[in-house]
């Protein structure tokens, strides 16, 4: 089966600011390769600073890697320009960690959800209005909330809005960067269940960046474990969870008491 997403030999180094003689270089990605099939969910785990988010941004085409390539549906992302880049962006959408920072505080949440429709020029103005309301319903929000500003919503509601905004353009891949770690435990379960519903109903593939193995077990088909910019282990979720081969994965599993807690019941 052709892969939707292929990442090969990705390398990215950041130079931290400061006077030229005291600059520090940080290797965020050090030869990362992975592949993801249509409609599959990959859980990308690792501690903070392990390069998970940088990998996510490279996949989104928002950060250019120093070396290596990200290939989406057979085309290298770094080579995309103009219309082709816009088309790629329409098909690959992000959901960020912090639902307080991912929505413009001056915009109504409806306008935030509509942004992609406006930028990609999807449908007529009336179509867009209708689609925004549909998206609100799709993520389990009252369409009446569309006229509010994000400060008037709860964290969980905001994250639902962020997910609706990511779904607006009908993406085939969603890169979710720690989408639940800023939320309360009870809200986390609701948002995770929403992600799983969307995957089932819409067939969207996703890269789910998290530091929580419990979350990975709950939502993903495959798991990739990152440690200091490298992938130390990849495989099917059960495989890795039951028979971890790398010491770091074992350490992660041992350090995660949440794995013994059953996921919250799914919302209807």
């Amino acid at each position: 089966m052709a892969d939707l997403l292929r990442v090969e030999g990705l390398r990215k180094t950041f130079t931290l600011g400061g006077p030229p003689w005291a600059r520090r270089r940080v290797v965020a990605l050090d030869g990362v390769s992975l592949a993801l099939g249509l409609g599959r969910t990959l859980g990308l785990v690792g501690e903070s600073g392990s390069g998970k988010s940088t990998l996510g941004r490279c996949i989104l085409g928002l950060t250019t890697p120093d070396e290596g390539s990200v290939t989406f549906d057979g085309t290298e992302v770094a080579s995309l320009r103009g219309r082709a880049l816009l088309d790629f962006r329409r098909r690959v959408q992000p959901v960020f960690q912090d639902p307080w920072g991912s929505l413009d505080p001056r915009w109504t949440v409806g306008r935030s959800v509509r942004e992609a429709l406006d930028c990609f020029r999807i449908g007529t103005s009336a179509d867009r209005d209708r689609r925004v309301l549909d998206l609100f319903r799709r993520v389990g929000l009252d369409p009446d909330l569309a006229g509010r500003r994000p400060t008037r919503l709860s964290g969980g509601q905001r994250q639902r809005v962020a997910i609706a905004a990511a779904l607006a353009s009908g993406p085939e891949l969603i890169v979710a960067d720690e989408p639940v770690s800023a939320l309360d435990m009870s809200v986390q379960a609701q948002i995770l269940n929403l992600f799983m519903d969307l995957r089932r109903d819409l067939g969207v593939a996703s890269v789910f960046v998290t530091h929580d193995l419990g979350v990975v077990k709950h939502v993903s088909d495959e798991v990739a474990v990152m440690f200091r910019g490298r992938l130390v282990e990849t495989g099917e979720v059960e495989e890795v969870m039951d028979r971890p081969r790398h010491d770091y994965t074992r350490a992660l599993l041992a350090a995660n008491p949440a794995l013994h807690v059953l996921p919250a019941p799914r919302s209807p």
């Binding site: 962006r89 992000p94 920072g101 991912s102 942004e115 905004a165």
Partner: protein, 286 residues
């Protein structure tokens, strides 16, 4: 209540101040002054340039409420016309400066890296020169006049306003909604205009209204030195210069233009302070 022996909950943060009143007050005062200045040709009882040899240095009277100056010109009429020139120069200087500073600061803060480096270093070169010196150099090259004075003041304020804009843009750009907008297909221009500018403009407006007060003083200073508005057109600064020589014999020649400057500066400052409390409680523009 101190149940369970726990200390009382910390008092809530002090009630927010009421910036609305300050803004209203400043705006009202400014509108009043601007209206008086704009209506000068109709409000002024006399022609500001008409001399009256008999009434030289006459004290305030019914005919000349603010008295008359060394050449027998009506001080009230001159103050009204001078206010017009001063407000025009100071506001147009600040607006002109904003027109250049906003795009420069926005681009520097948003793109960062070498774009920021190039713009910021260039602006620093203006910033190292003392304001008055820079203005006088300008005037030495281009010749005196109100347009040149406005231009000089605009150049002086360019780095200050651009820096405030840059800082705001830098902070706003770090938000995920900016990155998200890029992923949603928004062009850089669209992101700048719809996300970054509206969220970062507050402190710039605050700074601009505070600078307008300084611009008025700077313009008065230049005119006092004879480098701003050229005679016979009255200006608050040159009126002060004229009145200085007769301060003991005819203090009204000095007092009324002085009061006009104080009133205008105060109006801008009060407006700026109100705006600052409302839009920039953290004090970025300071």
């Amino acid at each position: 209540m101190t149940t369970l022996g726990l200390p009382a909950a910390p008092r809530r943060a002090p009630r927010p101040r009421r910036p609305g009143r300050l803004i209203l007050l400043g705006l009202l005062a400014l509108l009043l002054l601007a209206a008086a200045a704009a209506a000068a040709p109709w409000l002024a009882p006399w022609d500001p340039e008409e001399m009256d040899v008999i009434g030289v240095m006459g004290p305030p009277s019914a005919a000349h409420p603010f008295g008359s100056d060394v050449m027998g010109r009506d001080v009230l009429s001159r103050v009204l016309f001078a206010l017009r020139a001063s407000l025009l120069v100071s506001t147009s200087a600040v607006l002109l400066s904003l027109l250049v500073a906003i795009p420069l600061g926005l681009v520097a803060g948003y793109f960062g890296r070498w774009v920021d480096g190039a713009i910021s270093r260039a602006l620093d070169m203006i910033l190292v020169l003392p304001a008055m010196l820079l203005a006088i150099t300008f005037i030495a090259i281009l010749g005196p006049g109100s347009t040149v004075a406005a231009l000089a003041i605009a150049v002086i304020y360019l780095p200050i306003l651009a820096r405030v804009m840059r800082t705001g843009a830098l902070v706003v750009t770090r938000n995920d909604y900016v990155l998200g907008a890029r992923a949603r297909g928004a062009s850089h221009l669209r992101v700048l205009l719809t996300h970054v500018l509206p969220n970062a403009l507050g402190p710039v407006i605050v700074q601009a209204s505070i600078l307008a007060a300084f611009a008025l003083q700077l313009e008065a200073g230049l005119s006092f030195l004879g480098l701003g508005v050229q005679p016979p057109t009255p200006s608050l600064g040159s009126m002060l210069a004229d009145g200085r020589d007769v301060l003991t014999q005819a203090p009204w020649v000095e007092i009324f233009p002085g009061l006009a400057i104080v009133a205008a500066v105060l109006a801008f400052t009060v407006l700026g302070e109100g705006l600052r409390q409302a839009f920039d409680p953290e004090g970025v523009a300071e």
